[in-house]
Subunit: 458 residues, 2 copies
Amino acid sequence: MAVQREAALAYARTHQNVFLETLKEFLRFPSVSTLEQHRADMETTARWLADYLRSLGVTRVNIYPTDGHPVVYGELITAGPNAPTLLVYGHYDVQPPDPLDLWESPPFEPTVRGERLYARGAADMKGQIIGVLAAVEALIRTGDLPVNLKFMFEGEEEIGSPHLADFITRHKEMLTCDVSLNADAGIMGAEEPSITYALRGLAYFELHVQGPAQDLHSGVYGGVVHNAAQALAELIATMHDEKGHITVQGFYDQVRPLDEEERQALQRLPLDERFFLERTGAPALWGEPEYTPVERVGARPTLEVNGIIGGFTEPGVKTVIPSQASAKISCRLVPDQDPEAIYECLRRHLETHAPPTIRWELKYIVGAKPALIDRKSRWVQALAQAMQTVWNREPFYKREGGTVPVVAQVKEILGVDSVMAGFILPDADLHAPNENLHLPTWYRGIETYVHYFCNLCT
Amino acid sequence: MAVQREAALAYARTHQNVFLETLKEFLRFPSVSTLEQHRADMETTARWLADYLRSLGVTRVNIYPTDGHPVVYGELITAGPNAPTLLVYGHYDVQPPDPLDLWESPPFEPTVRGERLYARGAADMKGQIIGVLAAVEALIRTGDLPVNLKFMFEGEEEIGSPHLADFITRHKEMLTCDVSLNADAGIMGAEEPSITYALRGLAYFELHVQGPAQDLHSGVYGGVVHNAAQALAELIATMHDEKGHITVQGFYDQVRPLDEEERQALQRLPLDERFFLERTGAPALWGEPEYTPVERVGARPTLEVNGIIGGFTEPGVKTVIPSQASAKISCRLVPDQDPEAIYECLRRHLETHAPPTIRWELKYIVGAKPALIDRKSRWVQALAQAMQTVWNREPFYKREGGTVPVVAQVKEILGVDSVMAGFILPDADLHAPNENLHLPTWYRGIETYVHYFCNLCT
C-alpha cells in the first residue's frame, strides 16, 4: 500500500497540467441549470462527463434522465467485498454568471491568472469533481484502487436538487454504499485545512404583491392606492428587527442551541470580524449581536432577499405606480428546522402583516433540510489524517453556511453519512463574478484524496 | 363672428375623420423620450409635426434643438394687435409602452375599438395637440383666426421637461403672450366637463444602496452582512406610516392647507371612494385618512416608489446576497412645496435612518414646482363658457394630481398664467397599457376650442 501510495502521488504531481486541461474543457460548457436557454448545454455537459468517466475505465456509466437535468452515474467496484464502498457525489451544474460586466475574463473561457484559474464553476464544483477523479486516475494508473467507488453527479444542485431525492429513491440498490463522499465543500484557507461537519438547509420562496389592477399614473392616482413596490418593501421590512433578528413568529422554534463546548471550538477558528469585513467589503458587519460571525454563518438561520423587482427599472424617468412587485426570499436553515415548517411560519407572518390594500402570494419554490455529521467517525478521521499528512497540520472542524441538499437526502434514503470533502477557498467568489480555483490548493486536494482512499484500507 | 363660429363648427364636424387619420399618423411614431433607442424617432416626430404646422399655414415654423430633444415652434399672428395672443403648449413625446404584453393592440399601431382610439400617446397628448390644431384649421379654413397663436411643442414632458425652462428663457421675446393655453389636461368624464386650476409638482430621485462590495453566496456569508435589497426595502418602509402619511421630517412643512370653501367645492365633485376603487382595481383604497380621495390626489403630496430592482430577478433560483439595489422614488408636490427642498428633506431622512452596514446615494433626477391658477380670470371663464355651450352644463373646477412643469416655468419666466385645457378622460389609461382616446369627447373638445377662440374676442 505504501509503495502504491507513493507511486500515485508521483503520478498526481507529474500530471497536474493534464488535469488542468481536462478541467478547462469541463468549464467551457455553460451548464447553468436555472436558465432555460442552457438546457442543451446541460445535456452536452452530462455527455462529456460520462465520456470522461468511461475514459478512466469506470463501468456502468449511464446518463439517467430526471424530470429536470440528468444524473451521470458510474462505478469502480474493483477493491473486493472487504473494502469500503464510497458514493462520490458531485454536481456538474453552475450558477448563472451575471453580472457579466464585472468579470475580468469571460465566465466560460477558463483563464489562469497568477495562481488561480478563473471561470464559473472553477471552484463550485467542476474543479472539485475533476480533483477527485484525478486522484482516482492516479491510483488506477499506478496499481489498484484501494476502495470501491460509485459516482453520482447531478445537474441541479444550484437550483436546490429538486429531482435528486427521487433519483436516489428509485436507484436505492444501485447506490448502496458505506458512506458518501461529498466533494462540494471547502477549507478555511490555503494553509488552513478544515473539515465541514454541518451544513445549513434552504427554503426558497417567491413573494408576489399586487396592488391596483394595472400600473397607474402617479399624478392621477398617487395618494389613493397602495404602491405595490412600496407595499412589498414594507412587508420585507417586517421580517427583521434592527439588530438583524428574524421577526417571523416561530422561525427560531426548532433551532438546536449551540452547546458551550461547540461555541468554544468555533471560537478557535481564525474567522473573526475582520476576516468577514475583508472578505465581503461591507462597510460594517450585520446580524444577531449575541452570536459571533462564525456562529452566525454556520449555526444560525437567515432570511435573505435574493432579488427584488417592481415597476419601471430601465434608465430614465417614469412616473408610474407599479401594480406588481415581487421578491425572491430564501432562508438558510440549521438543525432541526424544516423548510416546509418555515414556509408556514412566513405565510402566517404575511397573513398577519399584509394590509388589506394589496393582494399577495407566497410560493414555495424549493427546500432542503440542514445536516450535522459525526466528526469522530472513521470516515471523517481518515480525511483528517490525509490532510494532516499533506498540510503537516491538524485540520480545523467547522460548520458550513451553505446547503448541500444531497447530504440530508442520502442520510434519509440510503441511511449513510456524508464526509464533506472539497478544497474551495473562502475567496473563491462562489456564485459571484470572477469565481476562481486556487491551483496550489487544488493540487494538494488531489494528493489528499490519494491519501484518503489509501487511509481507508489500512 | 357668430357666422364664422357656425361655419367653423360645421367644418370641424365634417372633418372628424380627416383629423382622426392625421392623429393616427402622429401616433405611429414611437416618440419615447426616456429611451435612448428612440432618439431618432424623436427627431422624425418633430419633423412631422413641423411639416404639419406648415401645412396649416403656420409661420416661423422651426425645430429648435435643445440639450435634449428639440422644441417645435410656430406662429399664427393674423388677428391684429388688439386680439389676445395665446401660447399653445403641448408635448410630442410619450411614455414608454411597457409592459408590452398587456396591450390588446400594439402601442404604436393606433387602433379604433368601439368609441376609442388605442395607442401610446392617444390621450397624453398627441390627441390633445391634434385637437387644438383641428380647431385652428376649422377657423382658418372658414375665415380668420380670432386670436393670435404661438405654438410651443416640446419633446421632454414625460421626463420632466429638463430643458424647457432654458428654451423659454432664451426665446423669451419670441414667446411673449397674454396667456398660455396648456392642452395637456383632462375632464372628469365624458358627460362631466371640468377645468383644472391646480397641478401638482414633481421631485424625482434615485436611491442606490450598496452593501457588500460584490454579490455574495447566501450560504457562505448569510448572517454577517446587510443584504442590499433588504436594506433598501427597510429604508423605503421608513418613509410612510401605516396610515399612509409620509414620515420624512419636514416633508409637509410647506404644504398650503386647504381652506374650508375649497374643501366644500372639492366635496361636490362626483369622485367618491367607489369611483377610485373602480378606476384602479385596488382591493382597498390607501392614503391619509383625514383627507378624501379627491383631496389626496389633488391637494396632498405623495411619495411613490416608481421602480425597484436588486439581486437576481430572472426566473429560477439563485441564492445570492445582492450587493446593490436601487429604487426610483418620486414625490408629487403641492403649493408651496419646492422640489429641491424636498430632496433635502429626503436626504436628511436617509442620513438619520440608514444604518452603518450599508452605503447609499440619493440622486436628484428632475423636479417641477406645483401650480395654482386663478379660476376667475377671463382666460379661464372663456373656456368655462365654451364648455357650457358644448356640453350644455357648467364645468366642475378641480385640482389635478399630475405635473405639467411648463405651467410653473411660463409663470416664472414669461410672467403669464396657464389655462389648463385638454379633454383626457380618467379611464384613458395614461402611462399604462391600452392608453386610449374617447373619440366623441375628442370631437367635443375640438368644438370647445372653436368656441373658446371665438369667446376670447367677443
